[in-house]
Assembly symmetry: C2
Homo-oligomer: 240 residues x 2
DNA sequence: TAGTGGTCTAGACCACATC
DNA sequence: ATGTGGTCTAGACCACTAT
């Protein structure tokens, strides 16, 4: 299966931004010119630029042109994007993350989970608690619930590596959308002591449901970190 | 200036979802049928559906159809969307929000602010601290910095109502994109006592830079709430 | 095989900003 | 007047899913 042309075009443009061919705050060549150069229609170029704009790489001004976005001055390398679908190992780098499985069981879902994961009470879920360290420093406690029917044959070994890899590359499932809630709370969960959090230390918690492309919910989870260990970020674009 | 057709089409479909014409988890009419019915081309329908999909109203499956999304079970009415551009008064309802101006001055920007707002050190900024209550209950302390050159003639009266309204409807400026960082912290700011936060109460803080459509940064701010008063949410769609 | 959404094209016209 | 991006069309072909 071949990649769509507009994705190829977006990659070319992204590279040119990265290597300085197109400079920050300067206009890119106009859409017609890019279309001719790359041998595609103008609409295909526009579609590529629309995507890059949604991701914050460029911004367009009708009547003026398309410009390379500036660096974001408050962006930090420790930020965790709250609007991406990469797993922790991929996000942070494979070898920087280690995982300890604190709990792994199969259960029937309670009423809350039945609602969250759109399950009948007879359809079992995995219940997983993982303690994850970033460069050997306590980083996050992840409480995860997934329907067994959607993720068959989950093993302890997979839990130590990447569940995301298993879901995507072995089961060939694709995440579609997610709803996430971020809040501050106290260290009051039974596993929080793993985070080296004192009794009065704030905790930052991200709770989420993830759905597949076909609309089925595949994961309910909440992830807790000590307040000074994690910052969630959102990039937002004011377009339809 | 007339509204684009694809926006009109999206509104029609959104209404039909809301009033039950199209039912949850059931397929909408196919794109060709909708196009004919509404007297537009198929691409225009697709563009409308793409937007609704990004906003989570529907999801599409190639080869199958377009389906109405389910209700999100963890969504709560107290959630604050972290990926919207509406001001607090509009988000929560005009009459539920009251504002007290704790500080209002004009200053030359320090180095940090010069970087955040892309300013020369001779270009002054407003420095505003507002205490905002939701139905007379302490809700958030907002620390806001804006370049004077972009927001001329800001008055105390505007601060008591909606700065967003002034920027959009009087100055006719449009927000383009924003980068937001959400973290948990302690009640250690000099204004935090307004939140009725005890010394050990966690605080949830949202820090952000907002840019206009033309790429100019117009606001740097950080907003602090007591941990149990605010939850930030993100909806994310795994598409280009 | 039939029906769905996804992509792509060429061409046209419009809205907007600048000169 | 010119050049930019935004919208819209009709038509074509492809990829995917179900039967």
């Amino acid at each position: 299966m071949k990649k769509a042309k507009y994705l190829e075009v977006a990659e070319v443009i992204r590279k040119r931004i990265k290597d300085g061919t197109y400079q920050v705050k300067k206009p890119l060549p106009d859409q017609q010119t890019l279309a001719k150069e790359l041998g595609v229609s103008r609409l295909t170029v526009k579609k590529a630029l629309d995507g890059l704009e949604r991701q914050g790489e460029v911004y367009k001004q009708s009547g003026l042109g398309t410009f390379v976005s500036e660096e974001i001055p408050i962006k930090s390398s420790i930020d965790s994007p709250a609007n991406e679908f990469t797993g922790l190992r991929k996000e942070m780098g494979k070898n920087r993350v280690t995982s300890k499985v604190l709990h792994f069981s199969v259960e029937f879902p309670d009423e809350k989970l039945q609602k969250y994961l759109d399950l009948h009470k007879t359809e079992p879920v995995y219940h997983i608690v993982r303690f994850r360290l970033l460069e050997n420093k306590p980083y996050v406690i992840e409480h995860t619930f997934m329907p067994v029917k959607l993720v068959p044959d989950l093993t302890d070994e997979i839990l130590h590596k990447s569940v995301y890899d298993y879901i995507h590359h072995v089961l060939h499932l694709k995440f579609g959308h997610a709803y996430r809630r971020i809040r501050a709370t106290r260290a009051d969960d039974k596993y929080d002591h793993y985070l080296n959090a004192g009794e009065n230390d704030p905790i930052i918690e991200l709770q989420q449901i993830i759905w597949l492309m076909n609309g089925q919910p595949i994961e309910y989870s909440f992830n807790r970190s000590r307040f000074d260990q994690r910052v969630y970020t959102v990039f937002e674009n004011n377009r339809f």
